[in-house]
């Protein structure tokens, strides 16, 4: 369905969006990119403040935008990959969802429905993180804008 479209890396899309809405979080995106999508996704689940011996102690969670953007973009990349290979194999694979490789690219352009879904996911994630609705909308709009604007893709 996107045979004539272009492919954008998940990390690249996230970096573009974060650069617009929370540029101070760019080192986080760089770090996640370096860590690899799989490792990053595994640890996101346990992300947040950790009680560790020899740590500084529990502090405020200040990284809020990157997880939302990463999660929304990864979600749409995953859904697209799934719909492309829907069938018995993918259903069986869903049973072992945790083992499934995290998609690293998003096939562009997205349909309006897909864009709407990404926006909805971003708003949901924002609400979960406790962001004010305006800030969530700003982030969601930035994601949609990035995914819709093919000319914004980096080389």
């Amino acid at each position: 369905m996107t045979s004539q479209g272009e492919r954008a890396g998940v990390a690249d899309v996230v970096r573009d969006v974060v650069a617009r809405v929370a540029p101070e979080e760019i080192p986080i995106v760089d770090g996640l990119d370096a860590l690899g999508a799989d490792t990053a996704a595994r640890h996101w689940a346990k992300a947040g403040a950790r009680r560790e011996p020899l740590g500084f102690g529990l502090g405020d969670a200040v990284v809020v935008v990157t997880p939302i953007v990463w999660w929304a973009v990864e979600h749409v990349a995953g859904r697209l990959a799934e719909s492309a290979t829907d069938g018995v194999v993918s259903r069986a694979r869903r049973l072992f969802r945790r083992r499934k490789a995290i998609p690293r690219v998003v096939d562009l352009p997205l349909t309006p429905e897909q864009l709407a879904e990404v926006r909805r996911k971003a708003l949901e994630a924002g609400a979960r993180q406790g962001l004010p609705p305006e800030r969530s909308e700003e982030i969601a709009d930035a994601i949609v804008a990035r995914l819709a604007l093919r000319d914004a893709e980096p080389e």
Binding site: P27, A47, R50, L54, A61, V62
Partner: protein, 989 residues
């Protein structure tokens, strides 16, 4: 005044980590041993039952029973419950440490998977520059590796790896805030670098790794096994006796979990505050700690489990590090529990493999007490130093000691010390002595710390602290080593009958003193032995008073360490000490009074003189303790009492000799020390009461400059004298044969229930009794009879007292078969047949008990009555001849010495007479009724006369001795008459 430097003394957290590590390693020995034992089926319970153990009889009866037949019990265990080789249990710690080491590195590798190097996120190199600056600020010679954890959203950081290769992981959130909140960034990074500088990393992760491995490999499997035993063992008839130990095992597992978690969290919290203060010293901004606490559920209880103190507490510590100098109850309690478990576990292993001895106990005690002294001692020293710096009353050490002692007590109970199958020891109230000892120890440490902190002119208190802690280490180890023996004696009781001990004492040293004194000494003997056998006891006593006395030898000068700890503190002059002569004189005068008493009584018999010296030494100590000065009360009173006791002993040794007094020297000096502590407590309590009534405080005497050289000479002479005494006694004790005065225990008479008796007899038959009786019954050759005799003699006596005469007959007759066989095989075989008859009767008796009937217990005659000539040939002639020789020797000795009887020699002659009588018991019957009647009377009388003779010497009863000798003289005539009858004379005797 500026803030007190928290580094005035070491934080003492390393030794607290060490306690956890040692505890886990030592605690893995017992489970490893258990697992190894489970590979073979163990029937130790059957051996115990065969030895006469009554599961309903209590620990003391069990000990008495097992101790009364140590040989058979040991060989039964070797056959039916073999111990794994000694090295096998030690594999537990080896495997544990190896697995923990692997996990230690795996944790670092695991943490490294979620991080990326800083350069990957540092596009412009600015972050690296800032970090380099901070490393330079911290003065670290080698920069740690910096990495970023992008999935961590908070503004924190963590350090992992090991001290040699630390890795500081910066959380993603910290990088986000770096530009907007640089104070926080610096504070966090400097805090982590402080952990690197304070060398926290290896110890922390080593504890984590060791604990996880211990949990997985030791604690969980062991607990599952215990729970399974608890459930499965429900139908066992021995369930009631095993329930306490199995339950204790499960409670121990829970206690270990709590102890390790609480102790580790506590140490980590302390280390966090130290790292905060180090970061602050390096220029971190206090705003870095402006973090709002999340509301915690559970309040103070929840706080105990956290590895970081609450933010408000951390901020408060930045201004005033007082919490780092506090003496808190929890660490003291946990230290006590840990030390008791370490000592208990190590000692159990040694005991299991029969390695336990007084020196082995002492070495294990040194290990446990090193940890306790390191932890409690440093805490108290820090508290005393802080109190001195802030001009407040320091801790007395009493509260700390209460918690420490309670911890040791709890550890003893959970570890199952001094109990076999009971829930608590029979005389559990004596366990309170542990708490008393804990208080005495911490009180002493606190008093010493106060003494030195007020007089030490050096730049740091480290030297006097190490000196006092080294002394405290030896003192505490002596206590632990004594408690293993003396404590057991108090809380369990003494399984040996006092009368038997008095008899034994009199047998070994007959006629040495009046009966009341002999009795008192025999009663005190077990306790005296537990005191005398602690190798380092006298060294500990000496150190307890001599080390504080060293403070008098220091040249007085301003306390420089105060200026080092608080930058702008005014110069502090040393605290005046009471004059040394006021400490020494009471001791010397007390000793002089005792010396006068001993000179008056110099002609007393030996035992009485030894007792008099003991009383004089302790009385002198008591007197000196009562009049010694009250400043620095405990060490001063201890010194005065010891000087007095030493003076008294020295005079006693000059009047008689050192070797005569040697057995009472250690007990006397130990008692003097205990009395001194008691007097010091009493005087302190009285002073407290007085102070409460009148608020008037006594001002210290004005400071005078006293020449220090004479003081040094006096202290050197006193300490050397005391240490020499300790050295001589240690050497003398090593040369003294161990346990020469401890008699074989007498089993306490127990009336077991019919059910228990059946179990005991079944076990007795199963572990070898049945086989031995079969061998005795079928022993038709001399070789077979000899083997059966040896086996029977080395085996348990039959547990049912009703059947015991039968068993004794089997043993006696088969032994006679064995002794006669080489020279007179026909007599030997006759005895073998007689033994078989008895064995058959015993088997019938066992079967009857098994059926629940009353057994027939009559001892069968050793065959048909013999003709006179045959009877004589079978051994009667030999016995009569032996009696003649023995009694002749006895009277020849009496004639020879002409009234100057040596009691020991005479006793051995009397015992020989008894022995002939015993050997003649149960002999073949003779067909001549007249001879048989005379023979029976002769055997009975010779037994009694021999015993009466022995007893009269012990009692120094001349009249009784004369009667006994007359009886032996009469029996000589009877023996001659019987010999004549054998030769064919028909004269009546």
């Amino acid at each position: 005044m500026s803030r007190v430097d928290e580094r005035v003394l070491g934080p003492g957290t390393t030794v607290r980590f060490a306690l956890l590590l040692v505890l886990l390693v030592v605690a893995s020995v017992a489970p490893a041993s258990d697992f190894a034992s489970r590979t073979t089926e163990s029937h130790s319970w059957a051996c115990a039952l065969a030895a006469g153990w009554d599961p309903d009889g209590g620990d003391l009866a069990e000990m008495a029973g097992l101790l009364s037949q140590p040989g058979p019990y040991e060989s039964c265990l070797a056959r039916h419950a073999p111990r794994p080789p000694w090295w096998l249990p030690l594999l537990g710690p080896v495997v544990l440490v190896a697995a923990a080491t692997a996990l230690f590195f795996a944790i670092a590798a695991w943490k490294a998977r979620r991080v990326v190097p800083v350069r990957r996120v540092d596009r412009d190199g600015d972050l690296t520059r800032v970090l380099d600056d901070l490393v330079a600020t911290a003065g670290l010679t080698r920069a740690p590796a910096f990495v970023v954890d992008p999935t961590a959203t908070s503004t924190g950081a963590v350090v992992f790896g090991r001290d040699g290769r630390p890795v500081v992981s910066l959380h993603g959130g910290l990088l986000v805030r770096r530009h907007t909140d640089p104070a926080r960034f610096r504070a966090v990074v400097l805090h982590e670098l402080a952990h690197v500088r304070n060398r926290d990393i290896t110890l922390t992760y080593a504890t984590v790794a060791l604990w996880r491995v211990f949990l997985a490999l030791v604690l969980l499997p062991d607990t599952v096994w215990l729970v399974w035993q608890l459930v499965e063992g429900g139908s066992s008839p021995l369930r009631s006796s095993y329930l306490p130990s199995v339950t204790r095992g499960i409670v121990l597992a829970v206690v270990l979990v709590l102890l390790v978690h609480l102790a580790r969290a506590d140490v980590l919290r302390t280390r966090e505050v130290h790292a905060d203060l180090t970061a602050l010293r390096w220029g971190a901004d206090r705003r870095g700690w402006e973090v709002a606490d999340t509301p915690s559920v559970g309040g103070a209880f929840a706080e105990l489990w956290r590895t970081h103190p609450r933010w408000d507490l951390r901020r408060a510590s930045l201004d005033d590090p007082a919490p780092l100098f506090g003496v808190r109850a929890l660490p003291m309690f946990l230290t006590g529990v840990g030390a008791a478990l370490i000592y208990g576990s190590a000692w159990q292993y040694l005991k299991h493999y029969r390695i336990a001895g007084w020196w082995a106990d002492q070495v294990v005690a040194l290990l446990a007490s090193a940890l306790v002294t390191g932890i409690a001692g440093i805490v108290l020293w820090r508290a005393v130093a802080h109190a001195r710096l802030t001009n407040v009353d320091g801790p007395t050490g009493v509260r700390a000691g209460l918690w420490l002692g309670t911890g040791v007590l709890a550890g003893e109970l959970v570890g199952g010390q001094n109990v076999i199958h009971s829930w608590v020891p029979a005389r559990w109230w004596f366990l309170s002595l542990i708490v008393v000892a804990g208080v005495a120890f911490t009180w002493w440490i606190a008093q010493c710390a106060r003494l030195w902190a007020g007089t030490w002119p050096g730049r740091t208190l480290r030297a006097p602290m190490l000196l006092v802690l080294a002394a405290g280490w030896v003192v505490l180890s002596a206590w632990f080593a004594w408690w293993r023996g003396g404590g057991a004696l108090l809380v369990v009781g003494w399984p040996i009958d006092t009368d038997a001990m008095v008899a034994q004492f009199q047998r070994i040293s007959p006629g040495t003193g009046p009966a009341w004194l002999v009795r008192d000494i025999a009663v005190a003997m077990p306790m005296v032995a537990t005191v005398s056998k602690v190798p380092l006891l006298l060294v500990a006593v000496t150190l307890a008073w001599a080390v504080p006395l060293l403070a008098w030898t220091v040249r007085p000068g301003p306390l420089r360490w105060v200026r080092e700890a608080v930058a702008d503190a005014p110069e502090q002059l040393p605290q005046p000490l009471p004059p040394l002569r006021r400490v020494v004189l009471p001791g010397v005068l007390g000793g002089a009074l005792a010396a006068v008493a001993l000179l008056v009584g110099r002609d007393l018999p030996e035992l009485e003189f030894v007792a008099a010296t003991f009383v004089a030494a302790t009385a002198a100590a008591l007197l000196a303790a009562l009049v010694a000065p009250s400043r620095h009360r405990l060490p001063v009173v201890l010194a005065a009492a010891q000087i007095a006791a030493l003076c008294a002993i020295a005079v006693g040794a000059l009047v008689r000799s050192w070797s005569v007094l040697s057995p009472m020297i250690t007990p006397a000096l130990a008692l003097a020390a205990v009395l001194a502590v008691g007097i010091a407590v009493g005087r302190a309590a009285a002073r407290r009461l007085r102070r409460r009534r009148s608020a008037l405080s006594v001002s210290p005497p004005p400071h005078r400059v006293v020449p220090v050289r004479p003081r040094r000479a006096v202290v050197a002479v006193l300490a050397t004298g005391s240490l020499l005494t300790a050295g001589v006694e240690i050497t003398a004790d090593a040369a003294r044969p161990s346990g020469s005065l401890v008699p074989g225990p007498t089993p306490t008479a127990s009336a077991s229930s019919a059910r228990v008796t059946r179990m005991q007899l079944a076990a007795w038959s199963a572990v070898g009794g049945h086989a031995i009786l079969a061998r005795v019954t079928s022993g038709t050759t001399c070789d077979a009879a000899a083997t059966a005799a040896r086996d029977a003699q080395a085996f348990f006596r039959v547990p049912d007292p009703r059947l015991r005469p039968l068993w004794n007959t089997v043993v006696t007759r088969s032994d006679r078969a064995r002794t006669h066989c080489p020279t007179k095989p026909e007599i030997g075989l006759a005895w073998a047949r007689a033994a078989a008859v008895a064995a058959t009767a015993l088997r019938a008796g066992l079967a009857a008990v098994h059926r629940g009937e009353d057994p027939v217990t009559t001892v069968p005659e050793p065959g048909d009555a013999l003709g006179l000539a045959q009877w004589a040939d079978q051994g009667a002639r030999d016995l009569l001849s032996r009696f003649g020789t023995t009694s002749r020797r006895l009277f020849a000795y009496i004639d020879q010495v002409q009234g100057r009887i040596e009691p020991t020699t005479l006793t051995s002659h009397c015992a020989e007479v008894s022995r002939v009588g015993q050997d003649a018991q149960g002999f073949f019957r003779v067909s001549d009724p007249g001879v048989q009647e005379r023979w029976d009377a002769f055997v009975k009388s010779s037994n009694e006369a021999g015993s009466r003779c022995t007893r009269s010497i012990a009692d120094v009863d001349v009249a009784a001795l004369r009667t006994a000798l007359q009886e032996i003289q009469r029996l000589r005539r009877v023996a001659v008459c019987l010999e004549n009858r054998i030769r064919g004379s028909v004269d009546s005797c």
